[in-house]
């Protein structure tokens, strides 16, 4: 085979525009895949769009060699393509291992952050899902671009080759529309806590998550420790919900207490705040209100606003409801 020297020759060390693009791609990917900062505060979509631009640029530069059928390649191109796939396969392994390491580091860095405890569990954050798919889709093309360099394969392209960049605003528009029209997907769990007990009442843990487009257009969540004693149901662990303390059973008469009873703050049990990854692609703000009905049932409502753009432009409101009767029955959830 005579192509090998040519292929090897192309791996020159010159810092061409193509290689700088590959390095930029790697930098954007690392920022997306890492768990630091814990939240991108809505900037995740900017990163994704930058990645799409770089993907398309590299694709055009390499003539989409990675995706062409073998029948359309000459021997040199086929050898380069196969070699790139081998390197890209290893890159996927490195990328996955890095993501695991980043996750461990992120968990250590957020050591006292109680948002995740007892919440609806996420298999993979939207940010990491995008990073993994990006790695899979563009890995071989990026390697080909790096190996090919501008010495042999990346001759200047005419404007007609760059029409695919028009896909970027289309992609951004599709994401905005998806955030507006796709139905919110609801996942609920119950009883994942199991460790909390309150005097004179039975308690259980409820968690709900509503996400749009798998979290790529934001997620809202609610987790609450609900207690009931046959007369009332009430949320425990969040003073901001203003649970009336006269309905909370206590072992001695209230008049005998040295100080008025107050609701403790237990953010691992009850919280309306979004988790850090929920705000990666859109800004999410959330508030909760609790009402105790005349029949003793607890009505908890979380209002979330997802804002993909600044100034609430294109924002979408989502509501999560939980109604528990005074004997612990779920009357409404979701």
């Amino acid at each position: 085979m005579t192509v090998q020297p040519e292929v090897l020759q192309t791996t020159s060390r010159r810092w061409s525009t193509v290689r700088i693009s590959v390095l930029l791609l790697a930098a954007c990917w690392l920022l997306l895949a890492s768990s630091l900062p814990a939240s991108l505060h809505g900037a995740g979509i900017v990163l994704v769009l930058a990645l799409v631009v770089l993907d398309l640029a590299l694709g055009v530069t390499t003539n989409w060699l990675a995706f062409l059928p073998t029948s359309r390649l000459d021997e040199r191109q086929a050898a380069l393509r196969n070699r790139a796939y081998r390197v890209a396969f290893r890159l996927v392994a490195v990328g996955v291992l890095l993501m695991v390491a980043f996750t461990i580091v992120g968990a250590i860095a957020a050591g006292d952050n109680l948002q995740s405890i007892n919440a609806v569990p996420d298999a993979i954050s939207p940010r990491h899902l995008v990073a993994f798919l990006e790695l899979l889709v563009i890995g071989p093309t990026a390697v080909i671009a790096w190996l090919q360099d501008d010495a042999s394969g990346s001759e200047p392209r005419g404007l007609q080759h760059w029409w695919s960049l028009l896909l970027v605003p289309l992609f951004a528009g599709a994401w905005l529309v998806a955030g507006q029209v796709l139905p919110a997907q609801t996942v609920t769990t119950r009883g994942s806590s199991g460790l909390f007990e309150a005097y004179g009442a039975t308690c259980d843990h409820f968690a709900t998550e509503k996400s749009i487009a798998g979290g790529l257009a934001g997620s809202a969540r609610l987790k609450v420790e609900v207690c009931w004693d046959g007369r009332h149901a009430f949320a425990f662990g969040d003073p901001s919900l203003h649970t009336p303390m006269d309905i909370v059973p206590i072992p001695v008469p209230a008049s005998e207490l040295a100080a008025p009873l107050s609701m403790p703050s237990e953010p691992d049990l009850t919280s309306c705040a979004p988790r850090d990854p929920d705000s990666d692609f859109v800004n999410v703000s959330e508030t909760c209100t609790e009402q105790i009905g005349p029949d003793g049932s607890m009505h908890l409502t979380a209002h979330a606003r997802m804002s993909p753009l600044s100034g609430d432009l294109g924002s979408r409101d989502i509501e999560i409801q939980l109604v528990v009767s005074r004997d612990g029955k779920i009357l409404a959830e979701g």
Binding site: V87, P121, V187
Partner: protein, 370 residues
């Protein structure tokens, strides 16, 4: 070979070395987490890692059987079936699943031999034909990985709440092992599948049996035999029991830091016991409880209820509670029985029951313990 001059220098930083470094770092963190209670498992994992390093340093040839394409393809089918079966494993493994993982590890070892480990060999160790075959295999493997993992991940994450829940379970269970299997062994599986039959001895000169090769085989044998030995000692070793009691135990929850008697005005006894089974991988069944008596009856205070019957650390064995029962008879005697079944992880047909018993009369006489 035209490019031999360009290949003569082995680069310091390669993608394989970065992968190995990351694996070593993550395994290091994982192993350190293992260390405090699971000393034997920690030692065994270190042995496995050293064995992998030694085995990889020895050149291999597939031999007569593994040189046949049909045998190699059979091996790939077996590995694929186990990988698929792993998808059904939940986040909590059950006793029947570990032997399958053990078989998978052995099959991967055979796969390395069948393919001469060219999937992960340094480029300097390959000829042009092997390198071309390897690159082609990686391209096929990449397509399989992208579709089987990328697509499944995307669809499962966004499709329905049920698929989302499956993914949450999957990422901590068997499917994660399936993914790692594909990530690290899929190219070798493809090579084993597409490589033609070995037809000439010229291509495969007989390797000298060096002392390193003998060491590698010995270490592999030890890695295989050791877990079986650990499993057998579960029934072969005597149960080692340690037990003590404390009369009228003090509860630390007293006012102003002064402890109060657990049983109040009645008498009480603290029971502490542990039964260890096995050598190497030791499984412990502990008991800590307090029982009281008042002359008319004995009764349990804590540690004798169903929520208290938890096995301690178990290495190379699964523990399941068969009986956790306490009762006070008509004569006022308290009887507590805690029976646990320990089942070997790798040989699930090997099991042993460990029983803890407390019999306390109404006047505080310990008839049986533990």
């Amino acid at each position: 070979m035209v490019s031999s001059l360009s290949r003569s220098r082995r680069p310091m930083v390669t993608i394989e070395r970065i992968t190995a470094l990351l694996i070593a770092l993550l395994l290091g963190v994982f192993l350190l987490g293992f260390l405090p209670p699971f000393v034997a498992s920690f030692g065994y994992l270190v042995l496995v890692l050293v064995t992998i390093v030694v085995v990889r340093s020895v050149p291999v040839e597939p031999g007569a059987w593994l040189g046949l394409r049909i045998v190699r393809r059979g091996l790939v089918v077996v590995i694929s079936l186990i990988t698929l079966d792993l998808l059904t494993f939940g986040a909590s493994f059950n006793p029947t699943e570990f032997p399958l993982i053990f078989v998978l590890a052995l099959a991967d070892f055979a796969l390395g031999r069948a393919t001469r480990r060219i999937a992960s060999a340094a480029i300097i160790d390959l000829d042009e034909r092997q390198e071309s075959l390897r690159n082609q295999a990686h391209r096929i493997a990449y397509a399989v990985l992208a579709v089987s993992v990328g697509l499944v991940l995307l669809v499962a994450d966004v499709a329905t709440p049920d698929s989302h829940r499956w993914l949450v379970d999957a990422i901590h269970g068997g499917p994660a092992l399936s993914f790692l299997q594909l990530l690290f062994f899929l190219p070798a599986m493809v090579i084993a599948w597409i490589e033609p039959d070995r037809i000439s001895d010229d291509d495969a000169p007989r390797l000298r049996q060096s002392s390193r090769a003998r060491l590698a085989y010995a270490m592999v044998a030890v890695c295989i035999i050791l877990p079986i030995v650990f499993s057998i000692t579960l029934i072969a070793s005597p149960i080692r029991t340690s037990a003590f009691t404390v009369a009228d135990p003090i509860d630390g929850r007293g006012v102003n830091g002064v402890g109060i008697k657990s049983c109040g005005n009645n008498h009480g006894l603290y029971f502490g016991a542990r039964k260890d089974v096995g050598w190497g991988g030791v499984s412990s069944v502990p008991l800590t409880a307090v029982a009281c008596w008042n002359g008319s009856r004995a009764y349990p205070l804590w540690g004798m209820f169903s929520s208290d019957c938890h096995p301690g650390t178990t290495e190379w064995a699964f523990a399941s509670t068969l009986t956790c029962r306490q009762a006070t008879g008509s004569d006022g005697t308290l009887t507590f029985t805690y029976r646990t079944r320990l089942r070997a992880v790798l040989l699930p047909f090997i099991s042993r029951d460990v029983v803890m018993t407390v019999t306390l009369t109404k006047d505080g006489k310990v008839v049986q313990f533990p």
